[in-house]
């Protein structure tokens, strides 16, 4: 071209119109590798020389024995289930960040069953009652913001966030009123002598989470099918896509909002039930341990798609429990596990930028071309 533009841009960004699957895989794969590398470097800064040992401990803490691996799976399952609970809500563009509170209320429902009813009825019946109570509590907790959203168009993000704190407060007062005599602010595992209302345990590699994992798998498959193939699932994505379109085709938007969020709450209730009846058999205000928040990122990164969410649940649980193990062996605090999780998510979510956009750096390209030319020249010279 005879005339060049007066301005050459330093960096140019353009939207990718069609992203191929392999490009997506390469970009996400590269970002995961980069994230792992970065975590190792952070560990190395905290404890010089620990770069390789960090990865070693990470694997030790997650894969070394069948029992440890089963525990990892149980944690993966819990993370997945919370993410699965959020998926219908998110797909409907209802930004439910109250999964933490909803799971906690579910756990409270299960504990109430375990505490007041389980000693008096057969275990089978007790489990059903606990399950129903957990679902009821969590569903009600989710339905409150949904009803406000549907009828008064309140902001669901703030609303569900505040509901988390209320749930924490309610559970804390429940604990104080029912604390084990002689202990302050805790309840010892309930019915530990009779195991009344406990999930039945079969031993599999010295591990008692088998039934829990089966339940999680079942629920995940059901929700996956619900989102993908059912009329309800279709309706909620129409509402998420455009409420005007939903009205135009005669969908009752209010009904769909409430129904979907109640479903979201029900799945959170299952999480609460599993945490109590299949896990600790007691309750504390931190029993959900932040999964309600981490799952938001899992759900988002997995693009509301259940198999992808499974992948990310696995990765993130591996990173957090692995680095937690590493922190007990290496000379720094347990907080490294949180740092690692955060770094991981930031990089994974940032990588979606490269999935959606193409970055052209003209000067870098020129530089590379120049270097290539230089090498070619040298090769030629060498050949001569």
């Amino acid at each position: 071209m005879a005339d060049k533009v007066a301005r050459e841009k330093f960096i140019r960004i353009s939207r990718r119109t069609d992203v191929k699957l392999w490009q997506r895989i390469v970009i996400i794969g590269a970002s995961i590798l980069f994230a792992f590398l970065l975590i190792g470097l952070i560990s190395n800064i905290a404890a010089p020389g620990s770069f390789l040992r960090f990865y070693e401990y990470m694997f030790k803490g997650t894969f070394s024995t069948p029992r440890i691996f089963m525990t990892l799976l149980w944690n993966v399952g819990l993370m997945l289930l919370v993410a699965v609970a959020l998926a219908p809500a998110f797909k409907m563009r209802f930004w439910n960040i109250g999964a933490e509170g909803q799971c906690l209320m579910g756990a409270l429902g299960a504990v109430i069953g375990l505490y007041f009813i389980a000693p008096h009825v057969p275990t089978f019946l007790a489990l059903i009652i606990e399950f129903l109570l957990a679902i009821l509590f969590a569903a009600v907790w989710a339905a409150i913001p949904a009803i406000f959203k549907a009828f008064l168009n309140t902001n669901e993000t703030l609303f569900t966030l505040m509901m988390n704190y209320m749930a924490t407060g309610i559970v804390a007062s429940f604990i104080i009123f029912n604390q084990t005599p002689g202990r302050s602010g805790t309840i010892d595992p309930l019915n530990s002598a009779t195991k009344a209302g406990w999930m039945p345990q079969i031993q599999f590699f010295h591990n008692s989470y088998v039934y829990n994992i089966i339940i999680i798998a079942l629920v995940a498959v059901v929700i996956w099918g619900y989102l993908r193939f059912s009329k309800h699932g279709y309706e909620l994505s129409v509402v998420g896509g455009s409420q005007n379109t939903a009205r135009y085709v005669g969908i009752n938007v209010k009904k769909v909002i409430i129904r979907t969020i109640v479903l979201s709450g029900v799945v959170c209730g299952v999480v609460g039930f599993l945490l109590v009846a299949g896990g600790s058999h007691t309750i504390s205000a931190s029993i959900v341990s932040g999964r309600g928040f981490t799952a938001i990122l899992v759900c988002w990164a997995g693009n509301f798609n259940v198999p992808m969410m499974l992948f990310y649940s696995f990765l993130i649980t591996f990173v957090s429990s692995g680095s937690s193990t590493a922190s007990s062996a290496l000379p720094y605090s347990d907080a490294i596990s949180e740092v690692a999780t955060a770094v991981f998510f930031i990089i994974i979510i940032a990588s979606t930028f490269f999935v959606n956009f193409n970055v052209h750096i003209p000067w870098l390209k020129k530089l590379i071309d120049k270097i290539k030319d230089l090498f070619k020249k040298k090769e030629k010279e060498a050949a001569q």
Partner: protein
């Protein structure tokens, strides 16, 4: 005839190329603009006309090529740079602050440097005026010199009063009508446009680019705009009009530049060309631009709208006491300035908007047609029979006396229960779902295709089943039937798409509209309503849609068409209802009425107010 007498090039585009992703918006565009001419830029949507103008006005940077202004290589990196070169652009969507007055909007964003430039400019003007005087042997008087100094000083700093007086002066010069103290939210569309033009002129723009200036104006307002544009041209300014309306191109411009698929195809002098030639160049092939209009047959009253009043989202009454009848086998056109309540009217009929007063009555053509259990329960059929609503194939009334439920069911299923008369249904207070359940099929192509008719992040199949996904009692979806339907639509309407699983927002406007219209036609409706169905579509797609509407009419459907192009309304419709400010200002016979007549009716109520 008006031709460019001088050959001073004010803008020269050389080999401009602009690429968005994989889409080439402009390819090697070479374009000249002369001093004192009106240049039309003609092209279909997506042909790159707006992109090239956005490059001149500094919104986009070209990937390749250069811009020369007054013969010098220009560095345009922002709209502000472009203004420094005297280029002003009036965008299709106005960029004004609603709560500010006209004058405040005009001075918004000016800095010290701009004021200094204004003062310099005025000084130059005054000096050249004095020089002219001196040439004639007259010395400017003391008073005149004083006056001139005052004006220069006044221009040097910000003062809203000075600004207002300068705006007045400018308006008088070119024939604008603009009140500097009027707030933007009180202005009509035409006033806002005037304000945008004055805003550019205030910044000493010598080159004015207008993007689709007539799209929202009435014929009378267009006349006024064209007069002003001619005044500016005669004052030595260069004006570029981006448009796709051929008759306006012929009327106003000196030269026409035609764009096609990102390339500048040709520039012709207006008085040496014809509409036919321009269209052929624009489309790239010879096109048949006849809108088919069949003679209505079997006309029957289908939909009665009686004394209807409807509010918009802000709670303002936008449809006020409107009554009309839509007839089967006829296209009823609705004309009016955009925002006169057309949208709300159609939404009210569709059941999307509550009625303030009045009613909508649907005449379901059921006479001598069998009753079915699709939309009626056994109980309902029995109740209707008690009122004598049915007759048997021999013409005798049916009352089901002494028959068991089983026998009645058999009789209905054997199609032996026929309606005695058309069914009359009041749609008031019914939502879209209830209307569907009554067995009344209303098709509606809304103005906001992706926001109301479709879901932009869903694929074609999922969008096709929006209307039909409820079929059957099974809780799971049947995607097979919609897939077959969309494949048929793609084939019949020539939709260009990579596949049926493509996200609909990736399709171009015309193809999106074909999917929507195809889906609505597939409903086999009794009433077909379309609001601005060709907005944003290229010529070929537009004519496809017009002919589809005519075909619907021939198959005995009552078609209601809301349009903005009066030429099309007159060529396509049978009757036209003209709305003004939410009231009916009259009905005209589309075969006899003229554009001017409708244009006047569109504004009549407005002046009474």
């Amino acid at each position: 005839m008006l031709t460019t007498s001088n050959n001073i090039k004010v803008v020269e585009l050389k080999n401009i190329t602009k690429v968005f992703g994989s889409k080439v918006a402009n390819l090697n565009v070479n374009l000249d603009l002369y001093k004192g001419e009106i240049l039309s830029i003609l092209g279909e949507n997506g042909s790159g006309k707006t992109t090239s103008m956005n490059i001149i006005s500094g919104l986009y940077a070209p990937d390749e090529g250069s811009i020369y202004i007054n013969g010098e290589l220009a560095k345009i990196n922002s709209p502000h740079d472009s203004l420094m070169y005297g280029i002003g652009m009036v965008h299709q969507h106005f960029k004004l602050v609603d709560v500010f007055t006209a004058a405040e909007n005009i001075v918004l964003g000016l800095d010290k440097q701009d004021y200094a430039n204004f003062a310099k400019k005025i000084e130059e003007q005054e000096e050249s005026r004095f020089a002219e005087l001196r040439k004639q042997g007259k010395e400017p008087s003391e008073e005149e010199l004083k006056e001139s100094k005052k004006r220069i000083n006044a221009a040097k700093s910000f003062n809203i009063k000075n600004a207002a007086s300068r705006i007045k002066e400018m308006c008088d010069r070119y024939g604008f009508e603009l009140d500097p103290n009027k707030k933007v939210y009180n202005m009509t569309v035409s006033e806002k446009q005037t304000l945008e033009i004055v805003k550019a002129l205030y910044r000493n723009a010598n080159i004015l680019i207008l993007d689709e200036p007539t799209a929202v104006l009435t014929p009378q307002e267009i006349d006024r705009l064209f007069m002003v544009i001619q005044n500016m041209r005669n004052d030595g300014k260069s004006i570029v009009i981006i448009t796709h309306k051929l008759n306006e191109v012929m009327r106003i411009s000196d030269r026409v530049a035609i764009f096609r698929k990102g390339e500048h195809v040709a520039t012709v002098e207006t008085n040496k060309t014809s509409i036919k030639e321009l269209t052929d160049m624009m489309v790239g092939a010879k096109v048949d631009l006849e809108i088919e209009r069949s003679t209505p047959t079997d006309v029957a009253d289908r939909l009665f709208v009686n004394n209807l009043s409807v509010k918009n989202n802000d709670g303002r009454v936008v449809i006020n006491d409107v009554s009309f009848v839509a007839r089967s086998g006829e296209i009823l056109g609705i004309a009016g300035i955009s925002g006169s309540g057309q949208k709300e009217l159609l939404e009210a009929i569709q059941g999307l908007r509550p009625l303030e007063s009045g009613e909508i009555i649907f005449h379901n053509p059921k006479k001598d047609k069998p009753a079915t259990f699709f939309h009626k329960t056994l109980k309902k059929i029995k109740a209707l029979a008690a009122h004598g609503a049915f007759h048997d194939p021999d013409g005798k009334r049916i009352n089901f006396k002494g028959m068991s439920n089983k026998e009645i069911r058999k009789m209905v299923n054997d199609c032996k229960v026929l309606f005695y008369e058309d069914e009359i249904v009041n749609l008031k207070g019914k939502n879209p779902l209830q209307i569907r359940e009554l067995g009344i099929r209303l098709s509606f192509v809304p103005e906001d295709r992706l926001g109301m008719g479709l879901v932009s992040n869903m694929n074609l199949v999922d969008n096709t089943m929006l209307r039909s996904y409820r079929h059957g009692h099974w809780i799971f979806l049947d995607r097979e039937r919609p897939r077959k339907l969309i494949e048929k639509i793609i084939k019949e309407l020539d939709v260009s798409t990579p596949g049926t699983n493509t996200q609909i927002s990736k399709l171009s406007g015309g193809n999106v509209q074909k999917v929507l219209v195809g889906r609505e036609i597939a409903l086999a409706p009794k009433v077909f309503m379309a609001a601005y169905p060709v907005r944003g579509l290229d010529i070929n797609s537009s004519y496809t849609i017009y002919n589809l509407l005519d075909k619907q009419k021939c198959s005995g459907i009552a078609v209601i068409y809301v349009g903005e192009d009066l030429d099309v309304l007159l060529a396509l419709c049978d009757r036209i209802m003209v709305l003004c400010d939410g009231r009916i200002s009259g009905f005209v016979d589309a075969r006899k009425a003229t554009k001017e007549q409708i244009g006047e009716m569109m504004t009549r109520h407005g002046e009474v107010q």
